[in-house]
Amino acid sequence: MLKGKLKFIIAILVIALGISYLVYGGVKDTMVYYLTVEELQQRVPSVYNERVRVSGTVVPGTINQDTDGALEFQITEDGNNIDVVYGGVVPDIFKDDVEAVVEGVYTERNVFEADTLLAKCPTKYESTDSLYQQQNYSGDESY
């Protein structure tokens, strides 16, 4: 009976160790620092060619899309701007002034080459300021 118990304990141990190993390896190889624009600029040059994720607001008027699909824009946070180049599918909500999250590599030309672009509605989490600020809500904005 003891032998049976021991077998069980060994099997459970193997599963626990296996999963822990997968978790450890997964974290080690896929972890990405999530930086603000300012932190990114502070970490030059060590940050060059290291995969990072950065978030900031899209600077109005900087979005420029080539016909071959490459998208160029700037993101800013507290007055610090960086240039971003991105070649993938652009989310529909991406436009001036949205909160954008990019993941990729900051190159030595000081351009962020992103392979992931996420955009978030500023109101997604129900900030109601916009409603309160515009007492005469008319609904004919910028469209």
Partner: protein
């Protein structure tokens, strides 16, 4: 109407508090009138919340912009159907819906258990009441959907257009039905702990609720995946996003629970384990609601900005502390009645199934919370992305599929060599042949090979089970079809479970094929130019722009050929909607999708220029439709397992239950 809704919520809150107190007091002092009054209170809460929901819907449909919730989530140009669905577009509405669904379930529990188990039930009712007290507190005092604005705007902010889609209309509700459904088995578990009736009544009474919640979680996850696939336009259906993980974690723990309760019912083992599992599953369901509603993880905003964040965390802490304190208090009464005999047995297959599911849940939990944990520990926000989740979960998933084939055919207690040879020879051969054929066809991806081979293994074991059952009945002179239907209808739990497994196999085949063998190409084409991918060729025929009442549409046309055969014109679109929900979206990309059982053609119009050229991304996604088909099979199997039993079985069950009531150690 607004005042009615407001008052209903407040009354429901007050009555919920009364329900908890009266139910516990009645149980402690044996005052049956108090218990009965608590049960009536539970039904009253349901009626009040029904009125509240109707009032809010009334305001939404009639666009009463004096309400903040209505102004934030609707607009005058929104079709009525989406005015209704905006009930769960925002936080206040979703939380009201959550507690409304809970009140429906609680009322059904009350009506179902009229004269059952007088010792256990008052505590079950009290637990359900306590959960609704929390949600009603938030709904009444923190996030009230009936909150008025200081002024009445002319126009509301509208509903985000990506939410204006049939899947988004039903997917949140489906998930909620699942999330909230987990509360019922949890309440039964707590009822068992509080009343000290730790036999398996709590599991028997809540079994169908568990299956019901699990089914809705499963279907909700699949609907969400389908919505992402059709609407988000990046070609995938699952991204390990925090919100997706939020629903996936309770599903993982819940799946473990669905399996491990069988061991307790059959063998009287794993009592502690089951109790812990249901607590963990409920914790993950509440946690999932919290992640989804607060946006804490994906959001770059600080956590303190969310009003409900601290409240939720406090509630979660309370649940965990209270449940596990009760659990430790009753630990002595949760001893198993049987022991494990052998590692080669069905019991141990279940144990490993549970460990793997929990391991996966833990890994997903860790990965989802990683930014928060790392920030707390190191001061740096560190993320782990999809690669992490895939690396951890794919091997676990493969082992689980393997076990899915082993579990049903291996004997209880201790598998003999004959048992193994008799049951597994054919399925093992099927798996080996599958792998050999695929290798011969040139497939070298090890995970894909294992996945397909295990799927063949599982399918063969399930087929064997059905085949044997039908054969035994046929020998008694039933024709095969009748034998088959009787086999299933007389053993619904078992064969329904097998049908669910077949659904899972189909889903796994779909996921494996579409993630390992997806191909894509991006091309900028002038009018008349062509591009090829695999054996498809696409010729760009030009772009058309037109205006309707609702939108300014831009439609590109691609003539598609498969191996030289004309398969028609594919038309991806980019539209600008005139009634711009939320007024935050420039345009909406409408993917062109042509779906067959072998391939999905998924074409995105990325952009176009005035000179007539356009950029396309073309994705060939093999066998994605197997995932949705598997979902339907899974749903069918789940319905079979939950289907009410006939009279004869009920009588047998009644005898067992009444014996169990008197003396829970008597085993039927």
């Amino acid at each position: 109407m607004v005042e009615t809704g407001k008052i209903s919520i407040l009354l429901a809150f007050a009555i919920s508090i009364y329900v908890v107190l009266a139910s516990v007091y009645g149980a402690k002092t044996n005052r049956r009138d108090f218990v009965k009054s608590a049960r009536n209170g539970t039904v009253a809460v349901f009626i009040l919340l029904f009125i509240a929901i109707i009032s809010l819907l009334h305001s939404l449909i009639n666009l009463d912009f004096s309400l903040k919730y209505v102004a934030l989530n609707t607009s005058t140009d929104l079709p009525v159907i989406y005015r209704i669905t905006s009930l769960w577009a925002g936080q206040a509405g979703s939380l009201l819906l959550w507690v409304f669904i809970l009140s429906i379930y609680s009322a059904i529990v009350v009506l179902q258990t009229k004269n059952k188990n007088r010792a256990l039930m008052p505590y079950v009712i009290a637990t359900l009441g306590a959960v609704s007290v929390f949600f009603l507190f938030i709904t009444a005092f923190v996030e009230n959907p009936f909150e008025k604005l200081a002024f009445v705007p002319q126009e509301g902010r509208g509903l985000n257009p990506i939410l204006q889609n049939v899947y988004m209309a039903i997917h949140p509700v489906t998930l909620y039905l699942g999330y909230v459904g987990v509360t019922v088995p949890f309440a039964f578990g707590m009822g068992a702990l509080l009343s000290g009736r730790l036999g398996d009544e709590w599991i028997r009474y809540s079994r169908k609720w568990t299956l019901f919640a699990w089914t809705f979680l499963s279907v909700g996850l699949l609907l969400g995946a389908r919505w992402a696939y059709l609407e988000l336009g990046w070609g995938g259906y699952w991204a390990w996003d925090p919100v997706e993980n939020a629903a996936f974690m309770p599903w993982l723990a819940g799946t473990a629970f669905v399996h491990s309760v069988m061991i307790q019912e059959k063998k009287g083992m794993l009592k502690k384990w089951n109790m812990s599992l249901i607590i963990i599953t409920f914790f993950l369901a509440i946690f999932g609601t919290f992640i989804t509603r607060s946006g804490i993880i994906s959001s770059v905003h600080s956590f303190a900005q969310s009003d409900i964040g601290p409240l939720f965390l406090g509630f979660i802490a309370f649940i965990l502390l209270f449940s596990f304190a009760m659990f430790l208090y009753r630990l002595g009464d949760l001893e198993s009645e049987n022991r494990f005999d052998s590692i080669l047995s069905r019991e141990s297959a279940f144990i490993f199934n549970n460990l793997l599911f929990l391991g996966a849940a833990f890994a997903v939990f860790l990965g989802t919370l990683f930014p928060i944990i790392s920030e707390a520990v190191t001061g740096e926000k560190i993320l782990v992305g999809s690669p992490y989740f895939n690396r951890v979960n794919v091997p676990i998933g493969l082992l689980l599929i393997f076990l899915m084939g082993v579990g049903p055919l291996i004997s209880w207690r201790k598998a003999s060599r004959e048992n193994l040879a008799k049951n597994f020879l054919v399925p093992v051969i099927a798996a080996a042949v599958t792998a050999a054929v695929l290798i011969a066809l040139g497939i070298r991806e090890i995970y894909a090979l294992l996945s397909y081979a295990f799927c063949a293994f599982v399918s063969m074991t399930v087929f064997t089970e059905f085949f044997r059952g039908v054969r035994v009945r046929s020998r008694r002179g039933e024709n095969p079809l009748l034998a088959f239907t009787r086999l299933v209808s007389r053993n619904r739990r078992r064969y329904g479970g097998y049908i669910v497994h077949i659904g899972v196999v189909l889903i796994v085949i779909g996921i494996t094929s579409s993630s390992v063998f997806v191909t894509e190409i991006q091309a900028t084409l002038e009018k008349g130019e062509s591009v090829s991918l695999r054996d498809y060729t696409f010729t760009y025929e030009g772009i058309e722009q037109y205006t309707t009442d609702a939108k300014n549409a831009t439609v590109a046309s691609l003539a598609a050929f498969e191996g030289g055969k004309d398969i028609g014109v594919i038309e991806p679109e980019k539209n600008v909607y005139k009634y711009e929900g939320n007024r935050e979206i420039n345009q909406e990309t409408e993917v062109a999708l042509r779906s067959t059982f072998t391939n999905d053609l998924y074409v995105i119009l990325m952009n176009f220029s005035n000179d007539g050229s356009a950029t396309f991304r073309i994705i060939i996604n093999p066998m994605v439709s197997w995932i949705w088909a598997g979902g339907l099979v899974l749903l069918l199997g789940a319905i079979v397992t939950m289907w009410p039993e006939g009279r004869k079985e009920r009588e047998g069950a009644f005898v067992r239950y009444t014996l169990g009531e008197k003396d829970s150690t008597v085993k039927a």
